[in-house]
Symmetry: C2
Subunit: 211 residues, 2 copies
Amino acid sequence: MRSKDTVTFTRAARREQMIEATIATVAERGLHGASLARIAERMGIAKGGILYHFSSRDDLVRAALQDVYDRLTQHVVDRLSSADSVRGAVRGYVVALVGYLHDHRDEVRLIGEGFTTTQTPESADSRVRTRWGALADLLDAAVAETAATGVDTRVLAITVSGGIDALVAEALRDPGLDLPEAGDRLADMVDRIIAPGDPAGPRTDTEGEPR
Amino acid sequence: MRSKDTVTFTRAARREQMIEATIATVAERGLHGASLARIAERMGIAKGGILYHFSSRDDLVRAALQDVYDRLTQHVVDRLSSADSVRGAVRGYVVALVGYLHDHRDEVRLIGEGFTTTQTPESADSRVRTRWGALADLLDAAVAETAATGVDTRVLAITVSGGIDALVAEALRDPGLDLPEAGDRLADMVDRIIAPGDPAGPRTDTEGEPR
DNA sequence: CCCTTTTTTGACCGATCGGGCTAAAGTTTG
DNA sequence: CAAACTTTAGCCCGATCGGTCAAAAAAGGG
């Protein structure tokens, strides 16, 4: 006997469909324009159907946000694991993040509007629970490796994070902007900052990199 | 005989009051949370009163945005006029922008949310009517001056603009962040990028810049 | 002081929102 | 088959939204 909140395969699949519809609706109408009625309309179902699987609109949005965030994190972690130096990891982080957002443009708006709206549930050391925390840690390790001086890793991490968002937003506005290319250029700049006077870092000159 | 749309002193003053109330309301409830009712409530008047002076809520928000934008632009232009080198102007731009936002935190949210929502009315060369256009021009001139190579000024301009926004947003979230200081550090980094291998740029405060 | 003009009010409108609820139908699955 | 699960359409609710409007209140000049 299944109870109402047992997780079955079909149940999870249905939730996933609804999350997808939420992402798509947010992408084209904004977070606050993605009402239950509109999401249901997109799926061709009644809005009551959504509330059968999610306790509220807020619950749905939260789940969608979590879903997207998990996928993004997974993608970055995957790419990062193949880095052979901390310095290379910094580049990998930037490129992976930009790359994901490039390949999932419909998720960008939910990420952007969702994260600013949703406050951090429980905040820890003020660094752990920020978006730029992981990058700041990477940068700390990188400057230790390259012995660079006068680099404020926190400011750099915040700037780069905000810069990536701005690049993605600009790419959304202007399709003429080559986003992966821009990500590479940004990574170049960061590399130049954390490894001063070393033009030949872990660059991509011999690149046979697949995608 | 005054007509309904003659600009009088008191009329302009009333509009300014309403714009101020709008800025304050947006600052604490967000753009979409700043309804006519809420703005009117803050002023202690009926919402009909606002619609007597502004044809619509959109009109009011537009006016507030224009107001803030004009003041910000004026501030940056003022500070920039005293730069004695293009390279110094780049630093001046960053510092002036961060400085203004530091001193007018209540306007930050309107700027951030307002600009992304409001689309550019008529777009020109795709560079002129963006927020980062002016900075990109400055950077173009700067790299010409310093003969730096391999700098994508567009990417850098977009990144820095987005980075400034992120720094300000972080300062709003964490009062422990010294915003003007962070602005200086960001300016350092930009300077390091556009003037590679030249640690002594137009840096420290007591310095008479060369050239 | 009155009479015109400007300003403000407060009730009201239609629309939309999230959400609760129900009765009936369709679908799995034991 | 029967019991359990899923979905539907529809109606209702209270709240809030931007906006309209006639009437009341100020202002202000003669």
